[in-house]
């Protein structure tokens, strides 16, 4: 199954996370302050997920434009 970025963005955050878990691959997970940052690869793009560990709210589930995102996080 291949979703485009545009199609992925039609869904709400909860659904996006479910789609990532069902169809994507978690390629990075990093805790930065009180935030858990996960990067998923789905179809041919990456998605950044921010979860606030204080209140367990999803703050961001957005595709990233730059596919070198992994490098950026690995260098942090």
């Amino acid at each position: 199954m291949r979703l485009t970025r545009g199609e992925f963005c039609q869904f709400n955050h909860t659904t996006r996370l479910k789609l990532l878990k069902e169809f994507g691959k978690n390629v990075l997970e990093k805790k930065i302050r009180m935030r858990l940052i996960s990067i998923y690869k789905i179809s041919d793009f990456y998605v950044e997920v921010y979860e606030n560990l204080d209140n367990h709210q999803l703050e961001k589930v957005e595709p990233v434009r730059n596919n070198s995102v992994l490098e950026v996080y690995n260098n942090l």
Binding site: L3, T14, T15, L19, E22
Partner: protein, 814 residues
């Protein structure tokens, strides 16, 4: 056989076929159900047929409340609600008043709710307009109305422009005009155009709306009020019926009213609320728990979760290029597959691949609009949805190829444009396994076919030997009236090796009156409208044979191992003709003996069986003169013969009109017109004069002229019978009468008797007396022979409207 029985038989045949193939009337094997998996025939499958859209049936709060209700009130409380209801009922009613912010009445099922509502709310002075696709339970309740006195009509599905026209036309004659529709239609999942309906409600004071929103309940709207009330106020001229057995997950139904008085009246007078049993404690307990959830914010997150899945499903259906009939906001989806045989094939394939989907088949949808119906619930994961749709996309081309159907056939059947992608994939046409052994020959005229070849197949089968067809072609072309210009097409499918025909027939494409076989009252009503619009309720039909031929029109050599493949080639040819001539229906007619295998084969190919009028045949011509004919009759017929035939016989003379001149044909045509204008039993267009001229000069036909000398008056022609005489049988096809003398001299009966005498003189074996007037024909020794046709209809609106009109006429004339 009655039409209703034939339809029941067809439904029986289709459903029984599905049962035999292991895809209908199934039972789950599970001891415990949870989630969306079920065990069918030892195989675990994902259930895509559940209407419990929010998955609340497994919610622990509902289960606990149900158990508690049984502990407190027992398994049932067996009293009519007219007397006493348990406390939970009041609790539930109060909760629903809050859910809907309007007065409610709870009923055990939605069907019983309609049966309580409709006869109480709608009266004989009202006009009822039902949407063509409204749920069958609504139509069932409409049939209970006032012994047929209420005006009922059918509206083309969702056509608001036509609805407004009908409101304008009916408002001067009726107290209220009710439109009965579904909020979400249960097969295709499309919705009623509520904004337009509200505009009409506001615009026309006499217009009222009755909506069944069974599939909308819980999944949309404030407190889960449903699709109709989603972001919409409750209209003061609307009644809403909705189900608790779908998204709400408990069983039961709720009827919602614009005012307390209406609710009170239904609660007091609605039949099922007086005599039927109540909802039982287990359901009531669960319903109170479900309604309580509906009144919290939680319902909105459940709705969101479902709608995200609906959105995802629409996206996947597009991605995988499946022929979806409508993109929906509801949780019901319908992938068209065209014919029942493809539907059976696909459901089987999906089951084998681990997915249970519904077969959408006749009578829920028209035969040629068979499809795979599936539903999405909150319990489905996104990957389950994607995998199911991917599987369907992989399996559909295989099923289509196996059954000789194309994507183009599907889109054409549903009247939707073929997507470019599908056209590109359309390289595999209707491939039939044995096609290499068969060849279909198509001819546009009988003159293109060798006379001996045609007669070798059809001699003695009816009025359509080579000469008979030449006469028809000469008579039904180049006429002024559109209805008398027929298209002729001849198809012979031959076995290439033996050069022998396996299947053969001829087809005429012509305008037919849709009410041809309707009760005379219905035709009478329609004919008044035809005075200003001559083609009102008429449709183009591709028919085997013609309106002027009788007999076995379809030749099938069932001893050939390829006969079914040959029939598939014939169907391809007929479908091409239907498209070419833009015809609405295909009719294969005049079948006397239909075995199960043949019937099943035709139903798989999208035909349904209908009953034609009984055919009258005289088989016994083993007598030599009038006296012996008399002796051959039954006791009652003998009495009739003495009283109505022999008594007047001396005053009649019979001539055979061999040398007709123009004036004779004019006179005969006038007599024919008398009969035509007096008979609506078999309502057809008037035949062209040219036909009679051709008959008068044909070797295959003869004209029997019956003359009468009434009293001392000179001889007058009072009856004329046009009969096909080629072959073994005598076939009187058309009659003309002078009704002035019919009552006193029993002209029609005399003509029938003279037909018998003439057949004997010519040494014929049988007399085929055709349809209608069976009682009279029985008196000359005719026996009834049941005759069937198999029909495919593209657009069933006219047929459905006539069925409603016929029902009203039948009820009235009881």
């Amino acid at each position: 056989m009655k039409q209703g029985n034939v339809i029941t038989d067809t439904i029986d045949q289709i459903i029984s076929d599905g049962v035999k193939r292991g895809i209908l009337h199934l039972y789950t094997d599970d001891n415990i159900l949870h989630g969306n998996h079920i065990m069918l025939k030892g195989r675990e499958v994902v259930n895509f047929g559940s209407c419990s859209y929010l998955g609340l049936e497994f919610d622990p709060r509902l289960k606990e409340a149900s158990k508690a209700a049984i502990d407190n009130y027992g398994t049932q409380f067996s009293e009519s609600r007219a007397y006493v209801s348990i406390k939970l009922y009041r609790q539930l009613e109060e909760l629903f008043d809050k859910v809907f912010d309007a007065p409610c009445v709870i009923t055990p099922t939605t069907t019983l709710g309609h049966m309580a509502n409709i006869p109480v709310l709608m009266s004989a002075g009202d006009a009822i307009i039902t949407d063509q696709q409204v749920h069958n339970s609504v139509n069932t309740a409409v049939k209970l109305l006032n012994g047929g006195r209420t005006h009922i009509e059918v509206l083309r599905h969702n056509r608001m422009d036509l609805l407004e026209d009908r409101i304008k036309s009916l408002r001067g004659k009726h107290d209220k005009i009710w439109y009965l529709a579904d909020g979400i239609y249960s097969m295709f999942g499309d919705t009623a155009p509520m904004n337009e309906l509200y505009q009409l409600l506001d615009m026309y004071p006499q217009f009222y709306l009755y909506v069944d929103d069974a599939h909308g309940m819980s999944i949309q709207g404030k407190h889960g009020r449903g699709s109709v009330l989603n972001n919409r106020r409750f209209h003061p001229k609307m009644v809403l019926a909705t189900s608790l057995a779908k998204g709400f997950a408990t069983g039961g139904a709720v009827m919602v009213y614009p005012n307390k008085e209406m609710a009170r009246r239904v609660r007091t007078c609605g039949g099922p609320l007086i005599t039927s049993g109540p909802l039982q404690p287990a359901q009531l307990g669960a319903a109170v728990a479900a309604a309580t959830i509906h009144l919290t914010e939680e319902i909105y997150s459940m709705q969101d979760e479902l709608h995200e899945r609906i959105k995802f499903t629409n996206l996947m259906l597009k991605k995988y290029h499946l022929p979806v009939i409508a993109e929906n906001n509801a949780a019901i989806f319908f992938v068209g597959v065209h014919l029942p045989k493809v539907g059976y094939n696909m459901v089987r394939r999906m089951l084998e691949a681990g997915y249970y989907v519904n077969l959408g088949i006749f009578p829920a949808v028209p035969m040629k609009n068979t499809g795979i119906r599936f539903t999405i619930t909150r319990l489905h994961t996104f990957s389950q949805i994607e995998e199911m749709i991917r599987t369907m996309a992989e399996e559909l081309p295989k099923a289509l190829k196996e059954e000789g159907v194309t994507y183009e056939d599907i889109y054409r059947a549903f009247k939707i444009p073929v997507p470019e992608q599908q056209l590109l994939d359309e390289t595999v046409a209707s491939v039939i396994s044995q096609a290499l052994s068969l060849k279909a020959y198509h001819y546009k005229s009988i003159y293109d076919i060798d006379k001996n070849d045609w007669n070798a197949i059809f001699k003695n089968k009816g009025t359509f030997d080579w000469d008979g067809l030449a006469l028809l072609e000469n008579s039904f072309q180049n006429n002024h009236q559109a209805e008398n210009n027929w298209q002729f097409d001849y198809v012979i499918v031959k076995d290439i090796m033996t050069e022998k025909p396996v299947v053969a027939s001829f087809f005429t494409t012509a305008l037919w009156k849709d009410d041809m076989l309707s009760p005379a009252d219905v035709s009478d009503n329609i004919e008044t409208k035809r005075a200003s619009d001559p083609y009102y309720f008429t449709s183009k039909v591709v028919s085997s044979g013609s309106l002027l031929t009788e007999g076995e029109h379809l030749f099938i050599d069932t001893s050939s191992p390829f006969w079914k493949d040959a029939m598939q080639l014939l169907f391809d040819q007929i479908n091409t003709l239907q498209e070419k001539y833009n015809a609405n229906s295909i009719v294969l007619r005049d079948f006397h003996h239909v075995d199960d295998e043949f019937e099943s084969f035709l139903i798989d190919n999208g035909f349904f069986k209908t009953s034609m009028p009984d055919n009258n045949v005289v088989n016994n011509l083993n007598w030599n003169n009038s006296e012996e004919f008399y002796d051959s009759l039954s006791k009652n017929s003998k009495m009739h013969f003495r009283k109505n035939v022999r008594r007047y016989a001396d005053q009649y003379e019979v001539e055979i009109g061999d040398y007709a001149v123009e004036k004779d044909v004019d006179d005969w045509y006038a007599l024919y017109e008398n009969v035509k204008n007096n008979s609506l039993e078999l309502n057809t267009f008037t035949l062209p004069r040219k036909l009679f001229e051709n008959i008068a000069h044909s070797q295959s036909w003869e004209t029997m002229v019956v003359k009468l000398s009434p009293g001392n008056e000179t001889k007058k022609t009072v009856a004329v019978v046009f009969s096909h005489i080629a072959g073994e049988n005598y076939i009187p096809m058309i009659i003309g009468l002078d009704y002035t003398y019919n009552k006193d001299y029993k002209v029609y009966r005399q003509a029938l008797y003279q037909v018998m005498m003439r057949a004997k003189i010519l040494g014929k074996k049988k007399v085929l007396l055709g349809f209608s007037a069976s009682i009279e024909k029985k008196k000359v020794g005719a026996v009834l022979s049941s005759t069937y046709a198999f029909t495919q209809i593209k657009d069933s609106y006219n047929a459905e409207t006539l069925a409603v009109m016929s029902l009203a006429a039948t009820t009235l004339t009881k």
